[in-house]
Amino acid sequence: MRVSTSWMQQQSIGSMMDRQSDLSNINTQLSTGKRINQPSDDPVGAARALDLTHLGTDTAQYQRNITSANARLGLEDQSLSNVTNVLGRVRTLLLQAANGTQTDDTRGDIAAEMVQLRQQLLGQANSKDGQGDYIFAGNRTGTEPFASQGGGVAYVGDDGQRMVAAGPGLQVATGDPGSAVFGSIPTGNGKFAISADAGNTGSAVAGSTTVSNPNANPSAWDGGSYSIVFTAPDTYEVHDGGGVVLDSGSYDPQKGGSITFRGAQIAFNGEPEAGDSFALGASQSQSVFATLDNIINVLQTPNGGDSKMQNAINTQFSNLDQAIDNITRTRGKVGARMNALDQQAGLNDDLSLQYKSALSDVQSVNYYDAISQLGAQTTALQAAQQTFTKVQGSKLFDYLR
């Protein structure tokens, strides 16, 4: 085939340009380390790279969220640990106070220490996190949640619980509202509470209470209001709210003993007088501050350590134990959350690594491949250049001189 001279030149130049453009592409790939430098290099890959980058950023954000949640939960745990210590001390003091060797004076001293402990507890309940937010205020984090009002303590926070996004679809609470931690604690044994009638004249004291067979469904304890009335020191009757006698039995005033009805079991000791009565009702909720105030009140009231005081102390003892239980349970929940966060953090790390490796698969240049291509294309360019000089150098006109 005939080839025109100018076309041959154009073609040679064209092929050199092509090789140079290939080299420039490889150069860009090698210097950026990326195979996809603009979307048209691989449209599907470019979109996939965006998605993967987004997923990676999301995961990194989850990790940040977890860090911030752990900090908050750590503070809460610290506070709760302090609270446990305070309540533990209160319990020890209460045990001492209940001891028969104490006098009104020594009980007054104990009460004085308890007043201090109550202040300490209030301080913990009003503690703040690193950002100056009250930890136990629910969502009203800008307001001191436990305010002293009329001698008692009122909760002015709300029931809100702050959550954190720890992973796709996983939200973990980063706090507990003060109402749940310190406020709404059931009285008595958590199912029912017993209190001695103020007019009792005997020395009978209600001790520990239990719900028999607690796991039965429906529970044998029906949550009603009843009263146990001693008709004589050794006999009793159980009345319902309307005064109807439901049950009756005998009681040993010397040895003491327990009275059981409708799933409720109450241990008594001491000698009741005829007409003494004990009211029994479903647990109400009471704040730990109210419990402390009640305890302090009992201890500060001079009474010579009579059965009335013992009954009152026993009642508040149950309440205090409920409060301690509640704090322990809350700490358990905090621990479980931190645990869940740690697990999620590990999972996020794995995911993050996976996204990074997928992203690298999609958009990173394969250096072995690219460098061998670089070599091949350099050779091709040199070949094109040499061919050009050779071909252009041989002309028939050269021989006609």
Partner: protein, 620 residues
Amino acid sequence: MVDMLTTGVSGLLAAQVGLGTVGHNVANVNTEGYSRQQVAYGAALPQGVGGYFIGTGVNTVAVQRAYSQFLNTSLWSATSSSSRADTMASLTGQINNQLSGSSNLQTSLDSFFGAVNDTANAPSDTASRQVLLARAGGLVSTFQSLSGQFNQLSSQVQQQIGDAVDSINSYSDSIAKLNGLIRSSVATGGTPPSDLLDKRDALVKNLSAQVGVTVVPQNDNTIQVFVGNGQSLVSGTQSYALATAPNIYDATRQEVVGAASGSVLSGRISGGALGALMDFRSSVLDPAQTQLGRTAQALASAFNAQHAQGVDLNGDVGGQFFSVAGPTVQAASTNNGTGNVDASISDVSKLTGADYTLSYAGGAWTMRDTNGNSVAMGGTGTAADPFTAAGLSMVVPAGAVAGDSFRIQPSRDAAASFAVVINNPDKIAAAAPLAISSGINNTGTATASASLDGGAISGGVVQFTSATTYSVDGGADQTYTPGQPINANGWNLQLSGTPQNGDSFTVTPNSNAQGDNSNALMLGKVANLGVLNGGVTSVGGAYSQLVSQVGSAGAVADDEKTTQTAVYNQAYGSQQSVSGVNLDEEAANLVRYQQAYQASAQVITTANSMFTALLSAVQG
């Protein structure tokens, strides 16, 4: 006796023509469009001498260009395609560069939603709220910068369309003039003048690079040139100019029209740089701008909706966070009626990314997409019952008359208009508007969540009077359908689990809850929420689609360029194999004619010496 001298002279003259042609060929070795010329010789009429003939030398019959109409036509068509592919690759390369540059929307989205999460982690912290607003500002500038780049590209395309039309007109003009010259040359000289034909062919090739043309040779050696579906550019010595004119809907958008007829050719032009510009504008740039706008609308709509479900630090229900333009409606300049269509977006998830025209035929309105397909509409078009289609809600003007039409571009201006409305960090609605507490003695398994229904909000107590009935604030019993929300006092209470008789839920307006991050958490989820395409595609997903859409256009254009360059090289090589000058060949021809010349000169010398010999014999 045969006139040897005359024979010799004819040889000399013939060789001179040959040498001259070689010189001409060599001189034009690099002339674009030049066809090498060849000399055709014929033996002169012989002289009859009795029973035989004696030759009388050579005649130069013609100097012709080496030419193939077929190969030239293929070259023109290949030029047109490869020029289109080149221009397309260069334009898509530009838009691809813009998307791979620093304005990466996904990065901006990620930082924005990262800041939303940080606010959720510390809702009462003013610093993190301020960062959130700053990131929102960054997001806005990314949208605007991308949209601005697209617009800049659009005006560049517009400029190039004007330039292409100018060159087309200038080429047509020159071709028409050459038509005249060639016609008169043939009329006077008999044979077509090769160099003028070459020049005209070269102009046709240049014209093909600007726009795909059809060339029809005429009997009088002129050519007719058509563009599109029969719009004449050159006919005889007359050229017909193209022009640009404003689009009937959008005065800022230039369309290609026939200058005399005014008929719009934009959609019918194919091939060449102009074809690429038209295609790029309508099939790459416009959809990209629309997709970007749709992304902005999706973000604004989803984020605003969630933001309105929360309350800010002042306890007020969250206001509009982002603002974004709705559909752009443009009335045709040819409309005779009054008023304009009032269009708004009724459902972001149903937006298609297409543009529409709404036209009135007197009595009935029809909606068509840009491909001319009819789109079914619901409603009657009144303010009370607007037309609905493709996520749009349209109220048509009462003053329309038959023949009026309106163009609706649902998302065209959205990205450019995207803005943050909130500038006070306290106004970020991170908290839930309502606080719900379950009754302390609830026995069922139901847990409740609440959302706002837009009405005035007040607190209330939902009390179950049986497992399937409830009362609100002690009102009449209502039937509870599991899964259905309970609506009252400006909120919807959604229960999950099963309520029991006696269960109660107290809903109170959230007050003073600066530590509440419930709505901030929900706002964070908007990042991955399916918003578009029927609630499937997230905002980030929509941007990915834009990137892959633009990337595909770029990759296709690059491939096309490679292919078309090869086709062009093939066509050009073939054409050159016939018409191109080869210097080696010319060198050989030079030697050939030089030898012929020398030989003819030798004949004359011989004739001369014969004549001298004869004379000296006579002188004796």
